[in-house]
Symmetry: C3
Subunit: 138 residues, 3 copies
């Protein structure tokens, strides 16, 4: 049986993909989904303290970065980390940090933001994903 | 309950990913799936009039672009926009344009091709995805 | 009805995404999932004999490539092709090569590693995906 859960692999470290994760998750939470974000590989680096709000566009779109960030301010979007924290306050978001990636990149628990709920490998994500209505890699 | 639907987030703006969307959707429609394409971020820009057939490869693969386009012609693939229109004629394809992206990029309804069915935010996509057998981000 | 299957579209040709495919699949197989990998587009090129272990990082992260490969050795990860072969030995992995991509890139069956089980188009993947608990594009 699948439940009203969405399981996302947050694979990418750029702000375009991160915005998609946050906006999609915000909509999901307002529709009463539980959201599970599994941060891995380049995405994992976004969980390092101070990193999330520094994320930029990939080089193919780098020339649009300032314009995009300006526009986001005009549209009154909070900074990404603030968006994540607001989603967390809903009590419907669970954040996982991928432990093999942490080892690969030499990142320790203390390097990461306190919003991380669980330090785990892929099996933990699959347990959630197999029980989710929607699972995607972003 | 899930139905014979496929829900795709068309996130990317390059022809390699667009071809995957179109070829996968063509197979799905021939298998009697309903296909729902939600165009967002760089993908949304493909819906601007005249843009879809101008899409190219990302810079890492740019050197292969002419060769790929030549080969597609030899293989008698129609241009991407024509492929989309043929899928639309099946009556089994629904196209969504992401409204937050439109605002972010200053794109209006009149800028977009007439095949767009619905202008909507992420919640509309999630409504469809949660009821779909297959949902993926491309 | 969905079964304990995971269906992955292996779209990318770089080692970061390939590692995600292999590590995720390894976890899935140890949890008794059947794993179905459909290699398409840049991913398909990884199936060419000798290519998988030559894959590197995309240009945005190229400067980290040597460091990552060194670290993987320290962590005792086998080379990617060896990882794939071990997963294959479990009897729970099925590998598909996308035939339209083969034609697009002028690749023949003889060019590919012997672990490929099936040469097929997107419809074959969709058949599996619609019956899978988890399906993702990587």
């Amino acid at each position: 049986m699948t439940n009203k859960k969405m399981a996302l692999i947050v694979y990418s470290g750029t702000i375009d993909k991160l915005l998609s994760v946050l906006i999609l998750s915000s909509a999901a939470i307002s529709m009463d989904f539980e959201v599970h974000m599994y941060f891995t590989f380049w995405g994992l680096t976004l969980l390092k303290k101070g990193e999330m709000d520094k994320s930029g566009l990939p080089s193919d779109y780098k020339h649009l970065e300032n314009q995009l960030k300006e526009k986001l301010k005009q549209m009154k979007y909070p900074a990404p980390y603030e968006m994540l924290r607001r989603l967390k306050e809903s009590g419907k978001l669970k954040i996982y940090a991928c432990t093999p990636t942490m080892e690969m990149f030499g990142i320790t628990k203390n390097d990461l933001i306190p919003e991380v709920d669980t330090f785990a490998g892929a099996a933990t994500f699959l347990d959630v994903a197999e029980d989710s209505k929607i699972s995607m890699m972003i």
